[in-house]
Amino acid sequence: MKYFIALLLGAAVGAAVFIVAVAYNPLLETQQVSPLTVTDARTAVFSYSAVPSDNLVLTNDGLQRRDPWPEDVLQLWERPIRQSEVMATVLHDARNQPAGLGIKFSSSSERTRVLNGELLVDSAWYIYVPGRGSLFVEQYENYWDYTRDIVIPAYRSSANAWKGNWLGNLTAGPGSLRTARVTGGSGEFAGHEMIGSESLIMKVWSVDDGAALAEGRLIIELPEIDVTDADQT
């Protein structure tokens, strides 16, 4: 009996050591900064609050860390959409003025592979920029760095929270440079194919509620069309 217990204890220790080794494996370091931050092309930068209550609507199955907002919003409890989330938000330009409307659909990805440092989410953005047109952003995001740098330290903290300044590139594909594919739908963007990326600036994160002070940022490389307020060169 004592040998069996020793074997079980050893197995538990081995599994724990392996998981810690995977979590802190320096070879699984992913790219922190988007390649679009150093591009020479014209880009549009849209920012949004990553705190649920700052958005127009955020809904999921109601069992996630991020509570649906507003409270009475219809929840996604049906089995095929249970691992999904949808958010509608106002996008702001570089001067923090409203610049557009964004709707983000996210679903846990079946391509998630922990051994490869991939905690993937398939997501799609619909963006409408008043007076200019609409955009569709297709991407998958990797939350590996986010989990390792923010979520795990928050659980280890006696305050069950994380505070700091974390900037991370969430977009991991499908573009070859870890960029998202952007398709113009209407207006001046119609017919254009572009690239983009999404990043997150996290300042406060708690185990109970998730992001308490955080900002998301979408950078989209624009085609050669008129420059407006939302652009930066």
Partner: protein, 221 residues
């Protein structure tokens, strides 16, 4: 004099016995420690195998109900029951927004934009996805955009002209598809169908979406 000798011999025997017991225990401890080490190796192998073989995410997928179109390609029907499948409605010209408590921006920028979020159902009336419908009436942009997101399959982005065609249909091209829809082109039509059953609890109507997919041509081998 013989008795003390016997005592001494007895003590020595006891001492030898104790030594043997400790030696045995030490041998047993080594085996115990080796068992623990083997456990560690097994734990590492088990954790690695589990993470490799067992998918962390398994999206539930309803069987697709797809029909072959007469002139080639395939068709699929979706619909939205109104009002029960409506998640959000936000519009500049609308006094009441949904859900209650949502603060639609009062900026002039969004005065001509109407955005809705829905749950999407298949032909069996089962919820299989989420969708957004954004209608814009501006001088520069006059369009209805749909994004249909089916978690286990991918997303579809459709832009359609706001003017309905004969029969009340609006038709738009599939501008982009992701994952399963990536190599498909085609179009999607929308139509409002009011409920005529009059049954208690029946929806006021349904927004029907009919998708026609055309696959990418592949070279003959």
């Amino acid at each position: 004099m013989a008795e003390p000798r016997c005592d001494h011999a007895g003590n020595l025997t006891k001492l030898a016995d104790n030594g043997l017991i400790w030696l045995e225990l030490l041998r047993g401890g080594k085996i115990l420690f080796k068992t623990f080490l083997i456990g560690i190796v097994l734990g590492v192998v088990a954790a690695a195998s589990t993470l490799y073989a067992v998918p962390l995410v398994d999206q539930y997928r309803e069987s697709s109900i797809i029909a072959v179109a007469i002139n080639g390609g395939t068709t699929e029907e979706f619909h939205v029951n109104i009002p029960m499948d409506r998640i959000m409605i936000g519009a500049g010209d609308q006094a009441a927004t949904l859900p209650e408590g949502m603060a639609w921006p009062d900026s002039e920028l969004f005065a001509n934009v109407r955005t809705e979020l829905f749950k999407v159902r298949n032909a069996r009336d089962t919820v299989i996805g989420i969708a957004s419908r954004t209608a814009v009436r501006e001088a520069e942009v006059d369009v209805i955009d749909w994004v249909i997101h089916l978690p286990a399959r991918g997303s579809l982005f459709v832009s359609m002209a706001p003017q309905p065609q004969q029969g009340g249909y609006r038709v738009g091209a599939i501008e982009k598809g992701t994952r399963e829809f990536e190599k498909l082109s085609g179009e999607i039509s929308e139509r409002w169908v009011a409920d005529t059953t009059g049954e208690e609890g029946a929806p006021a109507g349904r927004l029907e979406l009919n998708a026609s997919y055309i696959g990418e041509l592949e070279p003959l081998e």
